[in-house]
């Protein structure tokens, strides 16, 4: 699409969508949302960019090599956090007993391993949705 209105509006509104997505991911343990919703909102911004500016520029902004590495890194980070529990002698994915810092109720840095896992899930979902979209557009 080569519409001037769409391009200018997209350029202005994109950072706000991304900040909202990052907010939902980081406050996943305090308010509704969490990894999947925040990741989907963040991915919507990149999909909007691809729709407005064309596939070539969209793929330069988020190339396939970076997104596949982010996907793999997300899951390996999750498995690594789970293994911290095993190294301490407790079952997989243990929260308090394995020594994660708990913090106070209601603050952002609290609840042990939940924020770290939420960030990993958010990154992975974002890269998956963008990869799906670019692959489906490439087929033509």
């Amino acid at each position: 699409m080569d519409d001037l209105f769409v391009k200018v509006t997209t350029k202005m509104i994109l950072p706000f969508i991304q900040i909202y997505g990052i907010y939902v991911i980081i406050h996943g343990h305090l308010s509704p949302g969490g990894g999947f919703s925040g990741g989907a909102i963040f991915a919507a911004s990149i999909v909007l960019y691809t729709l407005a500016y064309g596939l070539h520029k969209g793929q330069k902004r988020m190339p396939h090599s970076i997104s596949s590495k982010v996907e793999t890194g997300g899951i390996l980070f999750y498995i690594g956090i789970g293994f911290v529990g095993i190294l301490a002698g407790y079952p997989f994915l243990t929260n308090k007993a394995a020594g994660f810092p708990m913090g106070e109720l209601g603050k952002v840095m609290s609840a042990g391993l939940i924020p770290m896992v939420t960030v990993a899930i958010g990154l992975k979902v974002m890269s998956t949705i963008v990869t799906l979209f670019h692959t489906m557009l490439e087929e033509d």
């Binding site: 305090l30 209601g106 692959t135 489906m136």
Partner: protein, 127 residues
């Protein structure tokens, strides 16, 4: 048996979920366009999510977010909401995957109506 209106009005969520389920099943079975079948499966999954969430509702309760300043209250059951999040992910994956297969079918057969695909296939098998 007595069919008073309060019985229907109290359980309207469950009745709505069942009606949506049947509408979705009808759409999958009768339309011959492949994309309409996928829309039918999405309608069925939405009805299941409605059913699940309305199980956890407690009358006169608030959203299950713990706020340390206002004290203890009665909360809605948060467990079905967490399960539905996983269910939505599954529904999105199935939709994305079936749409990719439909793109390939369109390249191979030239059409996405099931009647015409069956005609092309029966001509091929007879050769």
């Amino acid at each position: 048996m007595k069919l008073d209106l309060s019985l229907i009005a109290n359980n309207i969520n469950y009745i709505g979920a069942m009606v949506l389920f049947i509408i979705g099943l009808y759409t999958v079975l009768t339309h011959s366009n492949l994309i309409k079948k996928i829309i039918g499966i999405n309608i069925m999954e939405t009805s299941i999510f409605l059913f699940f969430v309305s199980i956890g509702y407690v009358k006169g309760a608030v959203a299950p977010i713990l706020d340390p300043s206002t004290g203890e209250k009665i909360f809605v059951n948060p467990l079905p909401a967490a399960m539905i999040l996983t269910g939505i992910v599954v529904a999105v994956s199935i939709t994305a995957f079936s749409l990719s297969i439909i793109i390939k079918i369109h390249e191979a057969y030239g059409t996405i109506e099931l009647d015409e695909i069956m005609k092309i296939r029966s001509v091929e098998v007879d050769e």
